[in-house]
Symmetry: C2
Subunit: 165 residues, 2 copies
DNA sequence: CTTGTTACTATGAATTTCATAGTAACGTGG
DNA sequence: CCACGTTACTATGAAATTCATAGTAACAAG
């Protein structure tokens, strides 16, 4: 799991990719930005196997993007939360989502996510800054809402996960 | 190599990751944004094996981010260029680089990349919009310059690649 | 003392990656 | 006309990773 790439180059893109250059890692971060903090939530919504999730969370923790927080002693249970470094990844996530909405979907599908800028109360749009007020967007200053279809898909994933046990 | 994930979800992040959720793919895009269009350049600077590069370029082509352009008949030779869809990935790349510069390097290393905004002639900074003029940044409207150290690393990679044949 | 909850760990088969080497199609210089 | 150089790959087998499936651990509740 160790990646020497990061130490062998000054390239910031390569350094970043050594940390987040993995599908599961990004999907986990998506869930954390969506405020799903528990292992089973992350597993259910990403569709990853427990090993994939466990390994990625461990790596995210050692890489400093995630901290474990106890929410229950006896039995000991942890939630996973973003650190400053993790939160700072938001612009990448936001840009990635915008690209995905624009270029990886057929037009008739419409947007799956709609963001409202908390400070101005209006839609953020897809751009790097709020289309309504022009300010740069920070997490947690945006409120995400899913399209009904996408929300349904999420609910179905949760049900399917629960049913399979 | 096929990825059913994209068809099974409305999530734009998952859709995007099905296309670019891979270290080599992102490094190849980095080179294309840096205007290195030839196979051997991409191989040398990314450090990938020819199969990795060839497979990713093929997938990038079928996914519509890259086109092959003939630059020499007899022997037939192609260059790889970004399409509109590929160019549209720039904001993600830019944000990723900014995150890497900020969070994946020790302070004393300094910035590896410095961007100048062509339209205003001043530095862009790390943010989503030009720090000098406030406009959103588009490729190819930014001019990249590498720090001497990073440039040296790149040159060394090229030399090492050439020497190994 | 059986069932339920949450968070993982174990195992072996399938797939992917990596290092190394080699091929192909041509131009060039002798 | 033939050996060498250039560019872009392809081939091969060992090593590592991923996936599907199943199971464990530590407790609470009834």
């Amino acid at each position: 799991m160790k990646d020497k790439t990061a130490d062998q180059t000054l390239c910031p893109v390569a350094r970043a990719e050594a940390v987040v250059g993995d599908r599961w890692t990004v999907l986990i971060l998506r869930e954390l930005f969506a405020r799903n903090h528990r292992f089973e939530e992350i597993q259910a919504y990403t569709g990853g196997t427990p090993q994939m999730i466990a390994a990625r969370l461990k790596k995210l923790e050692t890489d400093g993007l995630v901290t474990r927080r106890v929410y229950n002693k006896r039995p000991l249970r942890h939630e996973y939360h973003l650190t400053k470094k993790g939160e700072a990844f938001f612009p990448v996530m936001f840009a990635l989502r915008a690209w995905g909405e624009t270029w990886c979907k057929s037009p008739r599908e419409g947007l799956s996510m709609n963001y409202t800028h908390f400070s101005c109360g209006k839609p953020t749009g897809l751009g790097p800054v709020c289309q309504s007020c022009g300010e740069p967007l920070h997490w947690p200053d945006v409120v995400a809402e899913r399209s009904p279809k996408y929300q349904k898909e999420r609910d179905a994933r949760w049900e399917a996960f629960k049913a399979s046990r």
